[in-house]
Symmetry: C2
Subunit: 758 residues, 2 copies
Amino acid sequence: MEDDLRNTAKATTTYNMEAQANEERDPESNSLHQPLLKRNRTLSSTPLAMVGSKVSHIESLDYEINENDLFKHDWRSRSKVQVLQYIFLKWTVAFLVGLLTGIIATLINLAVENIAGYKLLAVVGYIEKERYLMGFIFLAGVNFFLTLIAAVLCVCFAPTAAGPGIPEIKAYLNGVDTPNMFGATTLIVKIVGSIGAVSAGLDLGKEGPLVHIGSCIASLLGQGGPDNYRIRWRWLRYFNNDRDRRDIITCGASSGVCAAFRAPVGGVLFALEEVATWWRSALLWRTFFSTAVVVVVLRAFMEYCKSGNCGLFGQGGLIMFDVSGVTVSYHVMDIIPIAVIGVIGGVLGSLYNHFLHKVLRLYNLINEKGKIYKLLLSLTVSLFTSACLYGLPFLARCRPCDSSLSESACPNTGRAGNFKQFNCPDGYYNDLATLLLTTNDDAVRNIFSTNTSSEFHVFSLTIFFVLYCILGLFTFGIAVPSGLFLPIILMGSAYGRMLGIAMGSYTNIDQGLYAVLGAASLMAGSMRMTVSLCVIFLELTNNLLLLPITMLVLLIAKTVGDCFNPSIYEIILDLKGLPFLEANPEPWMRNITVGELADVKAPVVTLNGVEKVGRIVDVLKKHYTQRVPHSLQKKWFLQEKRRTEEWEVREKFTSVDLAEREGKIEEVAVTKDEMEMYIDLHSLTNRTPYTVMESMSVAKALVLFRQVGLRHMLIVPQYQAAGVSPVVGILTRQDLRAQNILTAFPHLEKSKGREKGT
Amino acid sequence: MEDDLRNTAKATTTYNMEAQANEERDPESNSLHQPLLKRNRTLSSTPLAMVGSKVSHIESLDYEINENDLFKHDWRSRSKVQVLQYIFLKWTVAFLVGLLTGIIATLINLAVENIAGYKLLAVVGYIEKERYLMGFIFLAGVNFFLTLIAAVLCVCFAPTAAGPGIPEIKAYLNGVDTPNMFGATTLIVKIVGSIGAVSAGLDLGKEGPLVHIGSCIASLLGQGGPDNYRIRWRWLRYFNNDRDRRDIITCGASSGVCAAFRAPVGGVLFALEEVATWWRSALLWRTFFSTAVVVVVLRAFMEYCKSGNCGLFGQGGLIMFDVSGVTVSYHVMDIIPIAVIGVIGGVLGSLYNHFLHKVLRLYNLINEKGKIYKLLLSLTVSLFTSACLYGLPFLARCRPCDSSLSESACPNTGRAGNFKQFNCPDGYYNDLATLLLTTNDDAVRNIFSTNTSSEFHVFSLTIFFVLYCILGLFTFGIAVPSGLFLPIILMGSAYGRMLGIAMGSYTNIDQGLYAVLGAASLMAGSMRMTVSLCVIFLELTNNLLLLPITMLVLLIAKTVGDCFNPSIYEIILDLKGLPFLEANPEPWMRNITVGELADVKAPVVTLNGVEKVGRIVDVLKKHYTQRVPHSLQKKWFLQEKRRTEEWEVREKFTSVDLAEREGKIEEVAVTKDEMEMYIDLHSLTNRTPYTVMESMSVAKALVLFRQVGLRHMLIVPQYQAAGVSPVVGILTRQDLRAQNILTAFPHLEKSKGREKGT
């Protein structure tokens, strides 16, 4: 009896869920709005939360080792050959992730540069013939059409493909399984949508989307293909567990950053600093391998495209925004402008976060009204962008070319390059057109250009800065794949360069470097990264001597930004209501015990070790779960109430079966007769769950939960006796979130807001 | 009663230790020899292990949150001001660590470059006058004297200052508290010894020692000064816990690497990839801050020294071995030499590890004989080195200077620089003297030099390579502070350059870059790092375009090396017998439960919640421990057997008292009367330890132990009843080490050597 009690207690681990969320929201609404978590006196212990547009069922991932009879015969403890297979396969997947991410990134670049390039060439053609209106109609029309494609795809086929995807990946690696994030449809929509949105000249980048694309590729490779057409290959069962998938997706995320910025080390560090929650030395090595493959692929394509095989794509080398041509000489007094850049970057960055938050909430209200509103919003932004990009350069005065420049350099009528002629006579250039009527990448290249101290007038830079502040705020939330990096770089470089002009002769630092520092500071002020940004900027600009200054600027900007609000990714995570677990427990969590948490929850539902099918089905239906045990799926029912033997289980289930994720209860049809039969849960239940005593503080329990990566944590009573249940409660991720605890225990609020992240 | 039982069980947490290790070794012997762990049928559950020369008492560090009555009044849960104080202080310490490490590193460089520089100038003077014998005597004499200083200091005052110190720091950050590692004596000996050893021209670097120096500074700052003269400042109590000390020492280690290579990002990554066991995003940021401070300090000193204020120091900028002067152009066919370099690097690296292991064992036998033998060994190596450095260049033929070079460049009679004249007539240079008769830093600079394809003859490079293989093996283990980086770079660059010559016209890559790649490959082959080496080499050489090749070379070399043996640091850790806990449990650990482990251990010693002083003293004396509870130290004894109130405790102990580390039992004198009195352990005992069920596998328990950073782990029985002890055993770090488990359960051995580190 005691035996049974204890085992049943453990059987509950997987099936303790509360009633289904009772609210259904419009499935059409955008993926960014207030979390809809229940705010009643009882703790929301359900693993369900509302994500994105729909009331979705977010599951926690499970990194715990499942110990039961079957587990003992897991492949891991079997033959050496299988272990070698596993290692080989894991490296192969890492290789393929790098390879495919590299290829897809190149294809996206190729498509963008050709579409945007020919579009711009045509516009320049109209302008040369002084057919200005026609030029505008052409530009706006093409941009409108490209945005339409991207938005329709996102709205109709894969709402999760909108936005950067980085916050969801960050949440995934923290243990939150957002549905429909890594599917094949999402991948395709993200690729095509990204090409459309970037070619449309919208103020967004392909960096965030590439991170998501890399992760999708990784996830699909790991599970053997799209959900419905999976290769159920024997080897692939090795990756049908959350731990290995986590590693693979980390590789994908770093490959994405690497492909976006051609920054292999920066990619690894980005994944490490911003995205990943758990990290091991072995993983560092594997992500490094993936990014190395990406770089080799990029390099090979560039070599191939140099000879003009790829249309307008292929100019430029591995370094995107090279500023190594200028010698960095600075002395003690330069510390002042550096500090100023850092402080302004921090302030502007946190302001950007603040206003973006407001805009996203506003957009959410619009998007909730239906698909058509989502589309209209995107198209409005596209039209506004086109109008500004085309119209504003007319405000700038034509400036004469510097005679020291060669004729081919200024004025420039090509698609890329500095010193755009636009509407100016020969020998003159339009500095605002140089920044606006070009692709975003080229705009960054132009504003970073060194040894061109008089190229841009303050007036033009101010227009550019203000325009990109507005666009940066209003473009991000629309329903197309959009990255945050490039908009922030554009904004930051503008104010950096303006500051450089303002400093005038008081400084030794080149204006191009000021632009770089401005971009870095705004990134740090908004995203709050340090080491990875530092390396990404080093790899983007190839100027090692700038490193010490960049470090200082990043540190100052991050510190200043942190005084005002959290990082932009945290804001989005919060907006999306994803139950992200922070690394550090809040100080007030030391004043509440897990026993107190368990008290306000619904009582634990327990099953006997050998239980009636009917009762199991009831419990599963009532407490909606996506994970139905294999024995129910396979209808392995017993006529009598008895314990099964290990060999019986092994006969019934192959290792491939067991590696499969468990299915949904709705998919299992159980007859009335079967309802009266029994299932032995012993052999399939985790028999050694991690437990905490009821007197342990939430802070301490959270350390265990988060460090070990749990899905459920069992609370055992302080004093065990025959009459007392061996388990007093079960805590899930939702129960341990600060927000939810504070809702149930408002008196803790007063001590909130203390030490954090130190 | 039940209450008492349970609480007593928890009181045992801190005091369960086995009998003192019964073997005493010669305290004079060197710090590198076989671990002396007990190999009997019972598991060694003692936290004591033998480290280095002495039977030392290694304690596990404790990262667990200690929850008891007093803890509730910890400053962390108190006022906002205290929390701000803490944050401010933590950043201040990080700043000071960077500042002091930067200053000390500069002073070491300054001393080394001046001592070695004037020494070399004098030798060149003798050679110009053709007084060759006198030159040799001078060189050997000075080197002998410098080595003597370094060795005497290490042997007599701080044996832990010998070697690099990195393995011990790695162990410390894993939770192993090696005694006497971070003291003031060690710091001073390390600084002076390092100056002596490097100036003496020995084949060792100052990189490892600088990492140790950084960590010592960090540790001393954190605890408020040297052990016996500590500032018991109220604020500093914040850092008297293992978690904060761990963070501070990580900052110190990265600052050290940064100061050694002038590589701020490389320093952070080195600490992350190689040294640290636990890592958080917040820590990444703080270490980055420390290294930024180091770089600013280095830069400021360089600026100051440029004008000649620092003797021979101050030439060269932030980049140590700049090879950016050459354009990297490579095509598909270059993949072959790259792969060859990688494979050879991996093979040579693992061979180096293998032979170094043998040499260290041999040295150990010699060093165990006494201090004088240690000294003699060091001095012999010094004499041998001097003889080789001076004598071998005479074997090389004089080569005519390239007429395209300016006269000041070749031949060179200065202390640094390329194309040394040595014994050659004007217009000729001695290529071997260019590599040997110079400081190690300059030797690397010369062999990395680009666009000098015909500078070095294969014959000279071969001699150089063979010599440095021999020196690299025989220098490392002597009793002076020694780093491994530079010897390996020298060895690797030689074979890289040889390979470059062998490739001849088949390759587009410059020979200087071959040398860089050779060095990188050998580093990866021996140390098995990837990302951090990549960044360090990037920051050392300032050639971003080399990055993709470097990545490939590093990955290949590490993969090849891993096929043969573990990394050099792991080998040294193992030699020193430090109980390092690996990240991944061995596969066979899934086949043994913690209950089985507990069974072969000595029975658990339990104390009652309110216990007689006599019994506590007995237990502590028998099971030697370094941590005596405060109530015993302060002699807070009770006349009657009663529970104390919370206010009583708080009245007795201030927060400063409680933050102090607990003392030794020998230091507490208890009278006979007092022995009969009582102590209430409740308020000072951790009342919510992490527990595991006896049926849990060791693999799973190890995940908890290592992830949460425990010192002890309690095993609770599967079925609890009134008569059964609430705790069936306690596991420590030693119990969970694979080696120790295999000794007690040899049958597990057969399944050993499977999947690891994947």
